[in-house]
């Protein structure tokens, strides 16, 4: 989510964003299980717990939580200023390489081989639209962990293409 400059606001208890209405490349970072929430959901408890969990997270762009255990699904969505928001897990740090435009994806296969080391500023390939061709530039040096799209596919602007461990 690091490139999502629209993340400027905080909102709480936003309506569920599911199915077609879920922005396609959101990060659902918050995956902690809230236990003991059988039967009727206590919205206040839930909100409190999520808020407390989230309040000191500095590297967090967005929190999304949905509970469907009761008859009424409840979603809590928090959107933070995205000053720094590389996902992190178990001490490791990651960064996405995003698509620079809309078009057909052409990856440099050697560069994006799993485990390859890449340097900030490197090109990993191109995205070609009808009237432009844009280089896919590595934002931070690291190692290729996962390729998220396939060669030749159509990709939109900002779509995450490659995940790096940095």
């Amino acid at each position: 989510c690091s490139s999502l400059t629209y993340l400027r606001v905080c909102s709480l208890l936003a309506p569920c964003q599911t199915g077609a209405s879920a922005p396609k490349n959101w990060e659902f970072i918050f995956a902690r299980t809230l236990t003991g929430k059988k039967g009727k959901i206590k919205i206040m408890d839930l909100a409190l717990e999520v808020l407390e969990w989230a309040k000191d997270k500095k590297d967090l762009a967005e929190v999304y939580y949905e509970n469907k255990s009761g008859s009424a699904p409840v979603a809590i969505r928090l959107v933070f200023d995205a000053a720094s928001s590389a996902p992190s897990s178990g001490g490791k740090k990651f960064a996405y390489v995003h698509s620079p435009t809309i078009g057909a994806l052409a990856l440099n296969k050697e560069k994006v081989a799993l485990g390859s080391k890449v340097t900030a500023g490197d090109s990993l390939g191109q995205v070609s639209g009808d009237k432009e061709m844009a280089q896919i530039t590595v934002p931070l040096s690291g190692r290729v962990v996962e390729v998220l799209s396939r060669d030749g596919a159509g990709v939109g602007f900002g779509e995450p293409l490659v995940l790096l461990e940095i």
Partner: protein, 452 residues
Amino acid sequence: MKVLVANRGEIAVRVIRALKEMDFKSVAVYSEEDRSSSPVAMADEAWCLGASPAKESYLNIGRILTAARLSGAQAVHPGYGFLSENDVFASACEDAGLIFIGPKGSVMANLANKAETKRLVKKAGVSVIPGSEGPLGNAQEAMTQARETGYPVLLKASFGGGGRGIYLVRDEGELSRAYQMAQSQANAAVGKKELYLEKFLENTRHVEVQVALDIKSQGQAFVERDCTIQRRNQKLIEESPSPFLGEQARAKLLEAGLRAAQACGISTLATVEFLLMSDRKTFYFMEINKRIQVEHPVTEELLGIDLVQLQIALAMGQRWAPVAAKSDARHAIEARINAEDPAHNFLPSEGVVTACQWPGGPGIRVDTYLTPYSTLGVSYDSLAAKIIASSPHGRSGAVARMRRALGELKLEGFSTTASLHQELFADSFFAGGEQWFSTRFLEEWLGRRKFN
């Protein structure tokens, strides 16, 4: 059929609704800022074009055509604003084998020059605002023309639009300097400095005729819309029919609208704008808009028709068949809820929708793209929602309904023009609608109310 909607906000929602009702697939395109917006959620598929600046997204022809190709769309609806009246875009769509839901690119190229359009319309026998016959050659020619027309006059950019690039000249002393400034402004704005000259008419109302024409230019005109409530040439309230037009004058106006559109080679929906003089029967052609307009729901609610579906069907080659074109005592009126602060000179306002409850019940329609917790920025135009009230009990019935609806509206998180509408619709002079007032009414009223 799969249709790409090359727009955003409420008009994208409006078009997607029409497509769904016609059982067509819809493709939304969006800038990063609009990622969580309603049209993206509603469309069958959605493609991100680029960052917020319009030239990287909603004005980027190459990226929109790429999205059309990637999605397999067969047609493009341009909405209003952005590329909707851009002949290069229309032609590029045609070249890419896409149906452009609007006029042919060649027709729009012909109409880009407003001075030439005016000449075309005059030739068809429609009265136009007195002034130069086509573009002016130089300042000297302007002076000769101004003397003939009589001061005050307006200098207008031939390639301007939307009320921009217009210079008022009150007497001959001002003319040559104004000519220079208007030229350089026009050049800066559109790269073309050509000007034409018109009589400056005062105490006029803005009335416009919605027309629908098929591929053979067969079609019809609908009862006029009256858009006299404006601020700085931006419409704020529109209604239909005009309270100041008798049946005879109406018949003439509608006929003129249809004739003007046919003269312009229109084979789609268009709106022909006129100035109405205070004798309530003299009117002059002003310009022609070749897109669906913001205020089209006024006509839809007056007549119970669907103009956007009609526009799409006509673009798909459907031939015209008569549609209900008038409706007894019915009246419809629209209030634009803009994210602007009427207490601070209509400064655009941004924020998050912390609460929204739209009015409902009989005779109320709301067109919006906002939902609870939507973010509202200032990158694009400020239109947040349109409330349309219609009533079988004439203008006073529609006004009463609008007053009721504005009382039900709850929209929090930013400033809007709703408070202004509440005052306006409670104002006995405006609500009464008995006495003539002109397009200057709102600004004078605002001055008195100390709103700006």
